[in-house]
């Protein structure tokens, strides 16, 4: 069976469930004339399985990224992850975190299974075929000439059958790797394991096998068709070639220029269809096809039968634009797609993208690890309940690449009743980067993906709350303070449960004493909610819970941990970007001011570097 070339860059497909069990695909239309909505006819399955743990409706409304994305530079990271599978629109899947511990756990398992390259490559192949099939399905709807339309349905069927066969290879491979097909296996395969059973019963069903037989034999017939077309002036001749004529002009060229192929130059051994850009056949092609039809009447007759058998008539909702174009509400759609395969394909892409992304990061020489949650069986690892070892900022790593300065990894933990890390230290010392890296770990861990650190242990947080001061804001004084408080209020009022909180430079425009009091109260609030958090600040008193004795008790003091950004021991102008547990450094007041306005020596050097280089 000849496989048509893979069709890439078909755009992404969004879909949602309809009441009567139809999936609507919104095809983004470029300049091409395409119907806006394509419907699929299929039988609704009794039991639904979701590779990401939740059905599509769960992600439906998650159009906007969560608030902390920009603060944590997570938008940059996710953009890079999504770029690994840019044929699909995966954004919504990243916009919502799982709400159930079991889902997170199963996602981890699924990703572990995918680290097997052979399995992974097969799933990519499956996706390629599916993309191809969906592309042909759209062409099937759009094509105007009956002959071509029927062929598109056949092409679609071929690709779909290929996709499903690759998929069953995947499942049998998973089956082989584990002993039986019991509950333990399902657990081991993550979500994939659950699909294996379903795939088995689907491919062995009579309906599907019938479809495969039809598709294979008919596509073989068309694949073997070959004819000769001759042009001479205004005349043309079409004769079946039947494989006897093998003369190829390129052989002459090959004989004369053997070096062209040996030197690996790009030389075509085949002609490209000059009308390849158009999806539908052109006038000449149609002219030739009509001549062909007479020569292969049987095949063309059977193609017509194939369409009647394997497509279904559907009613579709017409939009105003479609009505204007005079499109009919009745439309024929491929009848062989199974819903679970379509949804499986979409949700699978998240795993493929994450796996590809992880490979890239690991290639740079940085670890990515799956988090350990405190609900899991307590083996005594000697670790604290909340501990991050070797945490680094993934966004920073992506920006710097491998060549330049290495990204610094830091450790952080919350021992006993400790709840807040208060980070102080010089500007450009890595405080914010440190806070970001912890936030990234919490998000990625909850998503069930590997996190940027060498070890991550944590409770199953219900959410992530961040508050970063907006530096670009032109507002100062009261205006900015008001803006900060307005953003902070909803975070504090909502009952969020056990969150991870990241506060960065709160109340910079307020008087230092006011800022200290306000910061203290914000922290107390979150500690009262049993949250864990990081507080990045210039106010060193915040790091020392005991200092203002009346504002807090001894117990509360024990909940705050001071961490500070280090400078080089010999030269205080050199930053090491290391954040360690220790009391804040007491630098002079004047120098603190200088730092506040970014006028220290290294900062000035950095700022002036661009200017000096020009001279």
């Amino acid at each position: 069976m000849r496989v048509p070339a893979m069709r890439k860059g078909r755009g992404f497909w969004k879909f949602h469930m309809e009441n009567e069990g139809g999936l609507c695909y919104n095809v983004p239309v470029g300049n091409e004339e395409r119907p806006q909505i394509i419907e699929w006819g299929f039988v609704m399955e009794q039991e639904n399985l979701w590779l990401l743990g939740y059905p599509e409706e769960f992600y439906e409304k998650a159009v906007l990224a969560p608030g902390f994305f920009v603060d944590l530079n997570m938008d940059q990271v996710v953009a890079q992850i999504m770029a690994e599978r840019r044929e699909y629109d995966l954004r919504k899947y990243f916009n919502r975190m799982p709400e159930d511990f079991s889902v997170t756990k199963k996602r981890q398992e699924t990703l572990r299974v995918l680290s097997d390259t052979e399995l992974f490559d097969r799933l990519v192949r499956f996706s390629d075929h599916m993309q191809c099939a969906r592309g042909y399905a759209a062409d099937y709807q759009a094509a105007e000439r009956e002959l071509c339309r029927q062929k598109f349905l056949l092409d679609c069927g071929v690709q779909y059958a290929l996709a499903v066969s690759v998929l069953s290879e995947v499942f049998s491979a998973i089956r082989q790797k584990t002993d039986g097909f019991d509950g333990k296996t399902l657990e081991a395969g993550g979500f994939l394991g659950a699909f294996a059973k379903k795939a088995g019963s689907y491919t062995e069903g009579e309906e599907y096998r019938d479809f495969c037989r039809d598709t294979e034999s008919l596509s073989g017939e068309f694949g073997n068709m070959r004819f000769r077309v001759e042009f001479a002036g205004a005349r043309m001749r079409v004769v079946p070639a039947d494989g006897e004529e093998t003369g190829d002009y390129f052989d002459t060229l090959r004989a004369l220029f053997p070096e062209n192929e040996k030197e690996g130059r790009v030389v075509r051994g085949q002609l490209e269809n000059p009308f390849g850009a158009k999806k539908e056949v052109g006038e000449l092609e149609f002219f030739v096809l009509t001549a062909c039809q007479k020569k292969y009447p049987d095949s063309f007759l059977r193609l017509r039968g194939y369409e009647q058998k394997h497509s279904v008539q559907k009613r579709r909702e017409l939009t105003v634009q479609m009505r204007e174009k005079g499109l009919s509400a009745q439309v024929r759609v491929p009848g062989f797609f199974a819903e679970w395969v379509l949804v499986f394909e979409q949700q699978l892409q998240v795993y493929l993208a994450v796996e590809l992304f992880m490979r890239k990061v690991r290639k740079l020489g940085y670890p990515l690890t799956y988090a350990v949650f405190d609900r899991e069986g307590k083996e005594d690892t000697g670790k604290n309940p909340v501990e991050f070892d070797g945490a680094y900022d993934l966004a920073l790593l992506l920006k710097q690449g491998s060549g330049k300065t290495p990204v610094v990894c830091n450790d952080a933990y919350y021992a006993g009743r400790e709840r807040f890390l208060v980070v102080t230290g010089p500007n450009q010392g890595g405080k914010t980067t440190f806070a970001r890296s912890l936030g990234q770990i919490v998000y990625l861990a909850k998503m069930g993906f590997a996190a940027p650190c060498s070890y991550a242990g944590m409770p199953y947080f219900s959410g992530l709350v961040t508050h970063f001061s907006v530096e670009e804001s032109l507002e100062t004084g009261r205006g900015k303070l008001k803006e900060e408080l307005t953003r902070l209020a909803p975070m504090m009022n909502e009952k969020q449960g056990k969150c991870f909180v990241i506060l960065n430079e709160l109340f910079t425009t307020a008087a230092t004493y006011d800022a200290y009091i306000m910061g203290k109260r914000v922290m107390e609030h979150f500690i009262g909610q049993d949250c864990f958090g990081v507080y990045v600040t210039h106010i060193q008193e915040l790091a020392d819970g005991k200092e203002e004795g009346k504002a807090c008790t001894e117990v509360q003091a024990a909940r705050i941990v001071s961490m500070a950004a280090c400078v080089d021991e010999r030269d205080s102008h050199i930053r090491t970007y290391r954040i360690v547990r220790r009391a804040p450094e007491g630098v002079g007041y004047a120098y603190a001011l200088v730092e506040k306005y970014h006028l220290t020596y290294p900062e000035l050097k950095e700022r002036l570097a661009g200017v000096l280089r020009d001279n």
């Binding site: 000769r228 077309v229 042009f231 005349r235 490209e272 056949v281």
Partner: protein, 527 residues
């Protein structure tokens, strides 16, 4: 497998050097007055009766080429010998070089007609039917010119082995042999099916949505091609062919138009196969044009010098690691060509020397001497002959000149500033294997200050391994240098006879305390 057709006339293993050549080209041209040499090389010489005369207007292509190539030194001993051999051979066969140059110019003209300037533009072409045709025509033109070059070289008798011209002839025999040429001609003729009408046939399969797929080109035949299928020779046979079973007339305009597009695709695909060869030819001609122009420049310069009665010789290069210079009968060719006289020549035997300090009388020929050294060095390093009876020297990656500019001889601080800035430019680029020629440097300040500056600079350069040639008035500096002289320093002075007359020759001598300005005063104003 067929090897590539390279020109390789000027280098044994490449077409043109990638290096940009000397660092400060404009300074060299200005200070050594190289324009005169370029002009002489780019003006054809013709016989008028008994004497040779040069055409007044120079050929700008040769002018630019000579200017470009003279300022890129050939640094390897072997590579330089290769260059010298081909130049020698060119001088022996001036007519051959003229023919080759004209052929190269026709390639230039072909490119200009196709509207292609520069390599980038050539590489970019290839899309659109019109441009495809243009490329095809250019290819046909190139093949024609290549045949001509082969004929010209084959016709030349007495071409001795062991030089670039002989090698090119061998390369064409081998890499553009008769079988290959004939095969290529057949394909180029077949391709006329597209321009002059003919037949094309394709093998086609059915792809997605019934579109054509796996299209193979079966045959193409030009209707007018006698080399093609003998059956397709007569119009009758074509007609007979047409009324075979399955033949239909394409009546619809759209179908005819698309059929033409189909043929275009076939034409383009065949051309795509030829493109590497086209590139090869285009690169060959890019280089060949330049090579031929340089060689013709050498031929014309030699003829011009001969017509004035100037002698020249091919220099020998010292072993790597050796220093010093030896020459006899060295003169300044620029002045000689301009004034049409045989100038005073100099000789020197300075084995192992790296510092040459010239002092002495005004108007004594010091600057001319320094210039003649620089010009000879540059001519030697591009593989040319040198204006000397005998010349033996080392190779320098870079040659710098720092001449006092006459046009701005006012004495103010701005001038020293300008001088030092130029010196800074030299110091920034100077390397161990450089030659620095200083002419009256730091004369724009007082002798005392100038001497200090010069002392620091020259000793720094000298100690750094740089070869320095210097003409100076700064006697304090020269005498101090002389007092602490080493073996690899040589001190020269303009010769002055006992009676005060000057010979314009430089002789080895300790720097003396007077510049003989008095002589000049006596000569012009009298005692």
């Amino acid at each position: 497998m067929r090897g590539k057709i390279h020109s390789y006339l000027l280098y044994p293993d490449m077409e043109l050097a990638q290096e940009a050549g000397y660092e400060q080209k404009d300074e060299l041209i200005k200070d050594l007055n190289l324009k005169v040499i370029f002009q002489a090389a780019s003006r054809p010489v013709w016989k008028a009766g008994d004497s040779l005369k040069a055409v007044e207007k120079e050929d700008f292509y040769i002018y630019d080429t000579v200017k470009r190539l003279m300022l890129v030194p050939v640094l390897g001993r072997e590579a330089l010998r290769y260059r010298q051999e081909v130049v020698k051979s060119a001088l022996e066969h001036p007519e051959l070089i003229k023919h080759l140059y004209e052929t190269g110019q026709r390639a230039e003209k072909l490119l200009a007609q196709a509207g292609i300037r520069g390599k980038e533009q050539r590489v970019r072409t290839g899309a659109g039917s019109g441009e495809v045709l243009g490329t095809y025509e250019l290819l046909c033109g190139f093949v024609g010119l290549l045949k001509e070059i082969k004929l010209i070289l084959e016709a030349e008798e007495g071409l001795s082995a062991g030089n670039g011209l002989f090698d090119l002839r061998m390369r064409l025999r081998e890499n553009y042999d008769d079988d290959f040429a004939a095969g290529l001609d057949v394909i180029l003729a077949d391709m006329e099916f597209f321009t002059k009408g003919g037949k094309s046939s394709f093998l086609v399969g059915v792809g997605a949505g019934m579109k054509f797929d796996c299209i193979a080109l079966h045959k193409i035949r030009s209707a007018s091609s006698p080399a093609g299928d003998p059956k397709a020779v007569s119009v009758g046979s074509i007609l007979r062919h047409m009324f075979k079973a399955g033949t239909v007339a394409m009546t619809e305009e759209a179908v005819v138009r698309e059929a033409k597009q189909f043929e275009t695709e076939a034409f383009r695909a065949v051309l795509a196969w030829l493109m590497p060869f086209f590139e090869e030819l285009a690169e060959f001609f890019d280089a060949f044009r330049v090579h031929a122009a340089f060689l013709l420049g050498c031929v014309q310069l030699a003829e011009r010098m001969k017509s004035i009665g100037l002698s020249f010789s091919f220099p020998s290069v010292r072993e790597k690691g050796e220093t010093g210079i030896r020459f006899a009968g060295l003169y300044e060719p620029g002045m000689a060509i301009l004034m049409r006289i045989h100038p005073v020549s100099n000789a020197l035997d300075a084995d192992g020397c790296r510092l040459f300090v010239v002092t002495g009388a005004n108007q004594g020929g010091k600057s001319t001497y320094l210039r003649s050294l620089g010009i000879a060095q540059i001519m030697m390093q591009c593989g040319m002959f040198v204006p000397a009876a005998r010349f033996e020297g080392c190779l320098y990656r870079n040659i710098f000149t720092h001449f006092t500019r006459r046009e701005d001889q006012s004495m103010n601080s701005g001038r020293l500033d300008e001088e030092l800035r130029r010196m800074d430019g030299i110091v920034r680029h100077v390397t161990r294997d450089s030659l620095v020629l200083l002419n009256e440097s730091f004369a724009t300040t007082t002798e005392k200050e100038g001497s200090v500056i010069a002392m620091e600079l020259v000793s720094a350069l000298y100690e750094g391994g740089v070869t320095v040639g210097m003409v100076t008035h700064l006697l304090a500096f020269a005498r101090k240098l002389y007092a602490g002289r080493e073996e690899s320093m040589v001190f020269l002075s303009a010769q002055r006879r006992e009676d005060g007359t000057r010979t314009y020759r430089m002789v080895e001598q300790a720097p003396e305390n007077t510049s003989f300005g008095l002589d000049l005063y006596e000569e012009l104003i009298g005692g």
